[in-house]
Symmetry: C2
Amino acid sequence: MEKVRYGIIGIGNMGVSHAHNLCGEIRGAELTAVCDTNPERLEWAKQHLPESVQLFDEPEAFWASKAMDAVLIAVPHYDHPGMAVKAFENGYHVLVEKPAGVYTKAVREMNEAAAKSGKQFGIMYNQRTNPLYIKLRDLIQSGELGEVRRTNWIITNWYRSQSYYDSGGWRATWAGEGGGVLLNQDPHQLDLWQWTTGMMPKRVRAFCHFGKYRNIEVEDDVTAYVEYENGATGVFVTTVGESPGTNRFEITGDNGKIVIENDKLTFWRLRVPEPQFNREYKGGFGQPECWVCDIPVAGGGGPQHKGILQNFTNALLHGEKLLAPGEEGILGLTISNAMHLSAWTDDWVDLPLDEDLFYEKLQEKIAHSTFRKDPAAAAVLDVKGTH
Amino acid sequence: MEKVRYGIIGIGNMGVSHAHNLCGEIRGAELTAVCDTNPERLEWAKQHLPESVQLFDEPEAFWASKAMDAVLIAVPHYDHPGMAVKAFENGYHVLVEKPAGVYTKAVREMNEAAAKSGKQFGIMYNQRTNPLYIKLRDLIQSGELGEVRRTNWIITNWYRSQSYYDSGGWRATWAGEGGGVLLNQDPHQLDLWQWTTGMMPKRVRAFCHFGKYRNIEVEDDVTAYVEYENGATGVFVTTVGESPGTNRFEITGDNGKIVIENDKLTFWRLRVPEPQFNREYKGGFGQPECWVCDIPVAGGGGPQHKGILQNFTNALLHGEKLLAPGEEGILGLTISNAMHLSAWTDDWVDLPLDEDLFYEKLQEKIAHSTFRKDPAAAAVLDVKGTH
């Protein structure tokens, strides 16, 4: 293969952004096909994309076309796993938008189809290209921070106005999106939370508020507490209702603490690990000597979506290792599902997750939904510059 | 009254510190009496305090002496309410160390005795003299921040080594202290949390870990989630086991957010309140214009213990308003008790607190305690420079 031919299914907000990137920004990639069942979206594609791009108004012809080597899935969340399975069955490599899906039952099936196909499978976790989180993962995985004791992510700078929610009929409904801030805005942080630390919670207790700040039926405000196997604890706070909001990720370990905030990573490094100090110290109020370390991190936010597209293209062309293997999409989604289930049952949720119970409860939410939107309010918003 | 004569009961760590302050540092105050049942402590007083200070080796003679106008209570936590009641009954004004007590049942009785006595009643909430928290309270109470939506206090810089706990037999036991970090280190933050915001939680869900980092039977690590009457939520994270720890208090409201960290207060102020922006905005990803405001706050940590002693003295001499009325000690303790009760019952705790249930559970902890310390390890630690 000299060039990877990409087909995009779903040419909405994110699909448009990816189409622009694939038309010239990614070495070794070309956009050769687009599929969308919405005539307006397809009309947009006709007017804005190169003439060489084949257009499909229904998936079956798209799958049958062999017009591409890899499919980029940018349809609404619920359809991610089903579309991916279809793509694998038709012999395509798959790059799926986040979240991996809405419920882990379906995502597990997607992962199984991927394994069976032997094709490359990636997920659009573009924040894994951010040098800050790459460095954090490095400092934890290499042992510099020592055993992790606490994680604390305040990620409340996902401000979304009511007009944002009014812009798409599927947005922020149980049937359309399967959740709110956890499903749409937080998949990146839920992924990075476990990817950087290398730890999944063993149980979750979450407090979700549904339609608290916006006229929506799903959660727009969440506080979650988690416990890990090694005894560490964690807190995750998120909302779309606060401005200017905060994005501050603090991780403490035996050797000090790391904080990522304001696009800066700082490591408060203890000269001796805290447990050693505690064993040896005989005084009253002393504590370990601490060095505030400025850790070099490349500026900017990294190549983001383009970085994932380039990495996936390089994986197909040159065997480059995937930054964000698709199979890992289930991890962040499991945490997200556990948070919902904990709030719905007002109780602890143990991991591994009871996937059937979550699915059942989600179906109840969909069945009992009385939320109707005015479809006329729908509009394609320009998401350039947002993640 | 030209001078307020103070008697200190309990001349341990804090009592020693207050004794030093009352011998010359506080205008209009003099130390005239000290009571402690421990001969070694009394011997310390004899050697280090002015000869004019009367020494008492048992409380009854101290109460009967009329050697002072006001009693400063610095005995172990459990005895605070009982000693205060005694002091009021004997006609003294009372300044009590924090916490107000260990369980709110007793503290309520103390408050009733204070009301009945007509005497002045203060509590050593020295952090209320810190200009940062005074300014925060001002910004909230004056409406600058707007309706409070979220509070988040990470207060993990209360590092205490095992040697600290080994230094006093009563420390960190259910029978001796009635709790750990919540009872000993956090009373200031639990007070400021409600004092600055003017809000008490309506329910609490807390996760306490007992003897996680130290060989103690009480909590040394706590994460708590609270909900307020107005729909706001809050998180409080604390431990003695992390170094260097964090002290970061974030409060968000309709008009932006305030963060106190590194002895600095910053106000991210929205040009128009968020709810108004949300009503009027018709675009996709916009948010309110935000001004980062440096708010002038006097440097240093304020007069702290000396400030409370001076204020209490001024209240008696000149009718100055108390910064920390003793009756308010029950508020922070109620939150503390609710956190313990939530962890013990692994469930929500609604406020007003079920005081009898808390008392009953605490008695169970005391009865089932098997924790014994080596009394020989006890030592008076120098707490100058700590709060």
